[in-house]
């Protein structure tokens, strides 16, 4: 590839300052929040949809792929350029373009941080409901691409339920609008792009739906001696017809990591806790809270904390939302899995997961959206130990198998990415996959956006990265300058 040519083309399209190509600069775009790696050949930071379109056209002309990147907090390797090429970062596309409080709609650029939407509309008594635990830092574009969920999605639905329309740049470099502020006729193309993990288009504008803040929210912390009791309580709650706004579970190992970070009062000696929130009109919330407490008592909760102060509540949630990061206190590396099982099967699958980790000799911390049956086992290990990654991946595969065998699926909210594409064949037939590929072809005949994701291929992300590193090591750091 004529590297200097594409770089100077990109520079003239979006300005010198916003095209990175020095090897050390590229290095920090080879990761996201996973353990995967892949080096880009250039990084661009456009400032408008037109600049996005121009970058896409240039890459296409030079026949290199484009991978979009928001904040790089993805948990399935989505923003990692598996096959090199251009990484297109949305951090400068961070304007809230319009807030229409009356119609409860906001129009934002893709690089806007999830929580910043809620902050901006707070004076109107509104908020944006999907709340991934990374919401303080992740972008709405990344949320759209991964169809992200969060603790409160149990009641309010995932990202896709809150996106009314999009502006996208196609693989041909055209700017197209999908959906809109009101219902539009024809196919729901917005729904197809949401969750497409950056493989169909680059999103340049998002129209989101806003909700009124609930009149009353009650937070409950239920403490159990055993994980099993906690997971039974979670499934009994849903089966009994209570629909909390959030129903989260954390096990002992997770609490051990979280407590020193935030001192939220998570009990260090308990087997597991459920962090539950019920919302609605005052009366309604109170009634639900009573039902929740009854179920927890029946399943021998050791203690139920209620009537928490706003500060307590904030700390409990900060602990829950910081849990993944806090695991770094217990282990140099961890592998986060993301599986879904029917809620009734939660207790049995969880038991299977602890067993499997024991057998393979790894510690595991479980912290997850129990209400959705969306599991996140985090397998702890030390990256520096030779051969360990393979063993961890093997264990991961076994855990995903457990989920699928329990009529579950291989991703709840983190996406398939490069990480889990080889498991796609477990849940989809050849025909299903062909149908999906044909859908992708309908968007573009080339594999220009985020290749190597979602669909199984023979080439792994890690290989590309180590090849690039070897190349740098050989020719020296200035090889690409």
């Amino acid at each position: 590839m004529a590297k200097t040519q594409i770089i100077s083309d990109l520079q003239s399209a979006i300005g010198k300052k916003w095209v990175l190509y020095a090897p050390e600069d590229l290095l920090v775009y080879e990761y996201d929040a996973t353990i995967e790696r892949g080096l880009p050949e250039a990084v661009v930071l456009p400032n408008s949809a037109e600049q996005v379109a121009a970058s896409v056209r240039i890459a296409r002309r030079h026949n290199v792929p484009v991978t979009a990147r928001g904040a790089g907090t993805g948990l399935s390797g989505g923003a990692i350029p598996c096959e090199g090429g251009v990484v297109l970062v949305t951090s400068r596309l961070n304007r809230i373009l319009e807030v229409d409080a009356e119609n409860r709609i906001a129009v934002v650029e893709p690089g806007v941080i999830n929580l910043d939407i809620s902050r901006a509309v707070d004076p109107h008594g509104l908020y944006y409901a999907p709340d991934p635990s990374s919401q303080k830092v992740c972008t709405i574009g990344g949320n759209v691409a991964e169809n992200s969920g969060g603790p409160h999605c149990l009641r309010y639905g995932m990202t896709t339920n809150h996106v009314l329309g999009l502006e996208i740049v196609t693989a041909e470099g055209e700017i197209v609008s999908l959906g809109g502020k009101t219902d539009t006729a024809g196919y729901d193309l917005t729904g197809i792009v949401v969750g497409s993990e950056g493989t169909l288009a680059i999103v340049t504008k998002v129209i989101v739906r806003l909700l009124h803040k609930p009149e009353s929210t009650i937070t409950i912390l239920a403490i159990f001696d055993e994980v099993d009791e906690a997971s039974q309580a979670a499934s009994a709650m849903i089966a009994g017809g209570v629909l909390p706004a959030a129903l989260e579970m954390m096990d002992k190992n997770t609490m051990e990591a979280v407590e020193p970070f935030i001192n939220a009062g998570y009990p260090p000696d308990a087997g597991a806790v459920l962090l539950i929130e019920v919302e609605g009109l005052e009366e309604d919330a109170r009634e639900q809270s009573e039902q929740v407490q009854a179920v927890c008592k029946e399943l021998s909760a050791r203690e139920i904390r209620i009537g928490l102060s706003p500060e307590d509540r904030e700390r409990l949630w900060a602990g829950r939302k910081g849990a993944l990061g806090a695991l770094g206190r217990l282990t140099p590396s961890y592998y986060i899995l993301d599986g879904v099982v029917p809620r009734t099967r939660l207790p049995e699958v969880l038991r299977g997961i602890y067993d499997a980790c024991d057998r393979h000799g790894f510690r595991v911390a479980n912290v997850f959206h129990a209400g959705d049956g969306n599991l996140h086992p985090n397998v702890m290990f030390d990256e520096r130990e030779p051969g360990v990654t393979e063993r961890v991946l093997k264990l991961g595969e076994e855990i995903m198998r457990l989920c699928v065998d329990a009529d579950g699926s291989i991703t709840g909210e983190h996406g398939v990415g490069s990480e889990k594409r080889s498991y796609m064949s477990w849940i989809f037939s050849e025909d299903d996959m062909t149908a999906m590929k044909r859908l992708k072809l309908a968007f573009s005949a080339t594999d220009g956006f985020n290749p190597g994701k979602v669909f199984p291929t023979s080439k792994g992300c890690g290989e590309v990265s180590s090849r690039m590193k070897a190349a740098i090591a050989k020719v020296g750091p200035d090889a690409y300058v």
């Binding site: 990175l20 020095a22 090897p23 050390e24 600069d25 290095l27 920090v28 775009y29 990761y31 996201d32 929040a33 930071l45 904040a71 790089g72 907090t73 970062v89 951090s91 400068r92 961070n94 690089g111 941080i113 990374s134 303080k136 830092v137 992740c138 979280v258 020193p260 970070f261 935030i262 910081g322 849990a323 993944l324 990061g325 806090a326 695991l327 770094g328 206190r329 140099p332 590396s333 961890y334 030390d382 990256e383 520096r384 590193k469 090591a473 750091p477 200035d478």
Partner: protein
């Protein structure tokens, strides 16, 4: 894991392995928010520092540029759920670069200046006197008007009021002595903000403390450590430990957040020094920020009042390094007629950051402008803070924007609220 290498010029691999790249620190980093670049983010810098430590990359001008842009404000460290000791990792990385063959000329120059001027009381007095003259003769006003240089010059500290030159016994309380404390006089504070020391001493005495300033104390070494000159920082630390432990006081009071943070971490700095390790631990537990100390005491609620709308700027090294955010606010709230109005992101760096405003004026000014916008939204006429660097930077901000108002240390307001001082 304690790191016990004698001269820590490489971050330990366990410190580096602590970052799991979750990205939860990104929006707390002023330089990331300003640029949107991963290279200017905590996670990116940590990745580069790891690659440096492992010999995967060289300290090229490009890499050093990313380290230089870091404010060392440690906001990332305060929000990191994984407990990454960012400040320590950055100091050791800088130490490694400074000791190595490819250390940039500007770094060596800076470290010479810090060693031979800032850490030497005599040299510093001369330097301060020249600076004072520069301010008084109106030369400063002139220089600040020169296009191109003016913006930079604006960020230089002001040395105007009367310097603080006392040492030995400074004050005795009227009644019974509740505690005997020693004051760190420090390098910049006595020259630039002598009045803050005078207020500190008065407030301490009013609260039953006998206050002394041990004459042989030296600069705390914070600036040296931040710039990677750990050898000088360790030398200064040893001398201060001897002097202050020798004084046999109940507490060492610091009214400069940057110095306090560094002194509370002498135990980490000297972890590899078998002779001083234990003394350093003892010393570090004695160090107290003035606000922290007063609230713990507890201080006497003042009977006077201060008619003002005040906004509080968290000094990074108080909020993020020492994790003290409520004590200064508690003091302000205790003052009658004073209205405390919080600004947006009060704990976001103002761009002062030690010598940063002089070495990275562009970013420093961007952050300062942002800060002044947040301040002006509060309509406050007084900005209170906890560190001389922040005071000087915020004063520059007021001058730069032609805004009325006053910058003070928290303890000055408390002092004003005590009657007939």
């Amino acid at each position: 894991m304690p790191d016990t290498s004698p001269i820590p010029i490489v971050p330990s691999s366990s410190d580096l392995a602590q970052c799991v790249r979750c990205g939860l620190c990104l929006q707390s980093c002023p330089t990331y928010v300003q640029t949107g670049l991963e290279t200017e983010s905590p996670r990116g810098r940590l990745y580069l520092m790891k690659a440096l430590a492992e010999g995967e990359i060289e300290p090229t001008a490009n890499v050093i540029g990313h380290m230089d842009q870091c404010l060392q404000c440690r906001n990332c460290e305060a929000v990191c759920p994984s407990g990454v000791p960012f400040g320590r990792i950055m100091e050791r990385t800088r130490a490694g670069i400074l000791e190595g063959n490819s250390s940039p000329f500007s770094w060596r120059l800076r470290s010479l200046f810090l060693r031979h001027v800032i850490a030497q009381p005599k040299a510093l007095s001369i330097f301060a006197a020249v600076f004072r003259l520069y301010g008084r003769t109106g030369l400063r006003t002139l220089v600040e008007r020169i296009p191109g240089i003016g913006e930079r010059a604006l960020l230089a500290p002001t040395m105007e009021g009367r310097p603080f030159t006392k040492s030995g016994l400074l004050a005795r309380p009227d009644g019974e002595v509740r505690q005997r404390v020693a004051l760190l006089t420090g390098c910049i504070m006595p020259h630039a903000f002598g009045r803050v020391h005078r207020a500190t001493v008065r407030v301490l005495a009013r609260n039953g403390c006998e206050v002394e300033a041990p004459p042989d104390q030296v600069c705390c070494g914070a600036l040296h450590a931040h710039n990677g000159d750990l050898n000088t920082a360790m030398d200064l630390a040893r001398r201060n430990i001897d002097v202050f432990l020798g004084a046999g006081v109940d507490a060492v009071i610091v009214n400069s957040a940057g110095c306090g943070a560094a002194m509370k971490e002498y135990d980490e700095l000297l972890a590899g020094d078998s002779e001083y390790r234990d003394a350093a631990k003892r010393f570090s537990t004695l160090v107290k920020d003035i606000s922290e100390f007063l609230v713990d005491l507890p201080f006497k609620v003042p009977s006077g009042q201060v008619q003002a709308t005040v906004t509080y700027q968290d000094s990074c090294h108080l909020a993020h390094a020492q994790r003290i955010t409520s004590a200064p606010r508690e003091i302000l709230r205790s003052i009658a007629s004073l209205t405390l109005v919080e600004m947006d992101r009060p704990d976001g760096c103002c761009g002062s950051a030690g010598v940063y405003s002089l070495t990275q004026p562009k970013m420093s000014i961007e952050l300062l402008d942002e800060k002044m916008r947040a301040v002006s939204d509060t309509k406050a006429s007084v900005i209170a803070t906890s560190n001389p660097g922040c005071m000087s930077q915020l004063e520059s901000g007021l001058r730069r924007h032609g805004a009325p108002g006053e910058v003070v240390h928290v303890v000055e307001l408390l002092d004003r609220a005590y009657p007939d001082r």
